[in-house]
Amino acid sequence: MFIMIKMSLKIYKKLDLTGQSCAGPLGELSGVLEEISPGEAVEAVLGDEATKKDVVAWATKKGYKIVQERRDGNNYVVVLTK
């Protein structure tokens, strides 16, 4: 289940949030991020730049750290941790 990132952070879960979901990207992320332990991170795949900006703004306000932002084809990938 785990893969290593930067030799010190484990990806607890990859969340493909490119599709429609009733909880929405922030709702799905909020539930998962509350569960992670120190040294773990969540990788979120987002389908558009506006959603990526929403996620980054929301996470920053909630006090989560953005470990990585990158493009993956048409998608945007954000890695978050506590």
């Binding site: 493909d16 429609q20 979901s21 922030l26 909020s30």
Partner: protein
């Protein structure tokens, strides 16, 4: 002989077992395959109907039936200790039941559902009524019958939860019911939600929040509840809000089944890692996961399970028959949304297409009631 085991006889497990039985009737009758449903309980509860109980729209007696009566006659059903699964072991293609028997399978379908973890929020169980719990839905009906005005808070403790539109429905049915009783002027309704707005999908949120505004419903979001004081009737949030209430209606935190955690096959909330298109458990190609049990970012709803059952039933049948055909799930969901006790709208969407609810009408309310009534004879039996 190919054995298909379905763990869980709720909405998802029942529909998929019946759909497989209807898809491969000859193989079942010839003894070339068998479908077995395992569940501790021999009763089947239609949980979506619980939402209507507190508003005197639904008779709770109609929500419970014998599981055996709903399952196709070609499906084997084990319950009690014989059906209570204590361990799922995908590496060895077995499940173990409480009577100590180890059952091997060729294909496994995990349909163990979502469950309430009230204790995650201190005070919640003592202070908050929830239609997500059968007994609490009955108590809420009594409380609403006696309600004479005050502040009602509607709360969603955590996302995701089953029936994602239901908190909005409860709010709007409450508003309508209180208007019809002449109590709306004496009542403040406060809707609290963990993320901004009242619903996670923007296109739906934008339509529904206008209805909330027209009805004079106060929204506090984001609001992530941390504790509830049952004595003083105060709900507090991470954001520092304190809401005093006379009556609280809420959605407790949800988790996957205990057996998922005990078997070490889920994430930290016991959701099972699942491919969003194939609905196969990650790293186990002969294990499918359906309904609330998955960790897919999709709605935990009966209609989701129904849509998913077509994919799983066809793929299991295709593999048994060796046709090589494969179907994939497109994220389809359909949910009616009650906007009162005689009006409704709906959302229909998939991964690629967001939903925009049409204007509320009596026709959609009628559709919602019919959908519930037809569950027993059509949906659960996988007739269509």
């Amino acid at each position: 002989m190919k054995r298909v085991i379905v763990v869980g006889g709720g909405i998802a497990g029942t529909i998929v077992a019946n759909r497989i039985a209807r898809t491969i009737p000859e193989e079942l009758e010839k003894g070339e395959a068998e479908v077995v449903v395992l569940d501790k309980s021999d009763k089947h509860v239609y949980q979506p109907g619980q939402l209507l109980v507190p508003f005197n729209v639904q008779d709770p007696v109609e929500l419970v039936r014998n599981e055996r009566d709903i399952l196709d006659h070609r499906v084997r059903f084990l319950h009690g200790q014989k059906g209570e699964v204590t361990k799922i072991d995908p590496a060895n293609h077995t499940v173990v039941t409480a009577d100590g028997v180890s059952h091997t399978y060729d294909y496994l379908i995990i349909a163990t559902g979502s469950h309430l973890r009230w204790e995650e929020v201190p005070g919640y169980k003592d202070a908050v009524y929830s239609p997500w719990d059968f007994d609490s839905a009955l108590k809420l009906r009594e409380a609403l019958d006696q309600f004479s005005g005050g502040t009602v808070v509607i709360n969603v403790a955590k996302l995701p939860h089953k029936c994602p539109v239901a908190p909005m429905e409860a709010t709007l049915m409450l508003d309508d019911m209180l208007r019809k009783k002449g109590l709306r002027d004496k009542t403040e309704i406060v809707y609290t939600y963990p993320i901004n707005g009242i619903f996670g999908i923007k296109t739906t949120n934008d339509v529904m929040i206008k209805i909330f505004q027209e009805r004079g419903i106060k929204v506090i979001s984001p609001f992530n509840v941390t504790n509830v004081d049952p004595k003083n009737k105060v709900m507090e949030s991470q954001e520092g809000e304190k809401v005093k209430f006379d009556l609280a209606i809420g959605v407790p935190p949800h988790v996957g089944a205990k057996v998922i955690g005990d078997s070490g096959i889920g994430d930290k909330r016991n959701w099972v890692p699942t491919d969003k298109f194939t609905l196969r458990m990650k790293d186990h190609s002969n294990v499918f996961v359906i309904g609330d049990t998955t960790d897919i970012p999709i709605s935990k709803a009966g209609s989701t399970a129904d849509f998913e059952s077509y994919i799983i039933a066809n793929n299991v049948a295709n593999e048994i028959r060796g046709t090589g055909l494969k179907k994939t799930y497109d994220g389809s969901v359909f949910c009616y949304i009650a906007t009162g006790v005689d009006s409704a709208t709906y959302i229909r969407f998939n991964y690629a297409n967001p939903p925009v609810p049409p204007p509320p009408s009596y026709v959609h309310w009628w559709g919602k009631l019919m959908y519930n009534k037809l569950y027993w004879t059509v949906t659960a039996k996988a007739i269509v």
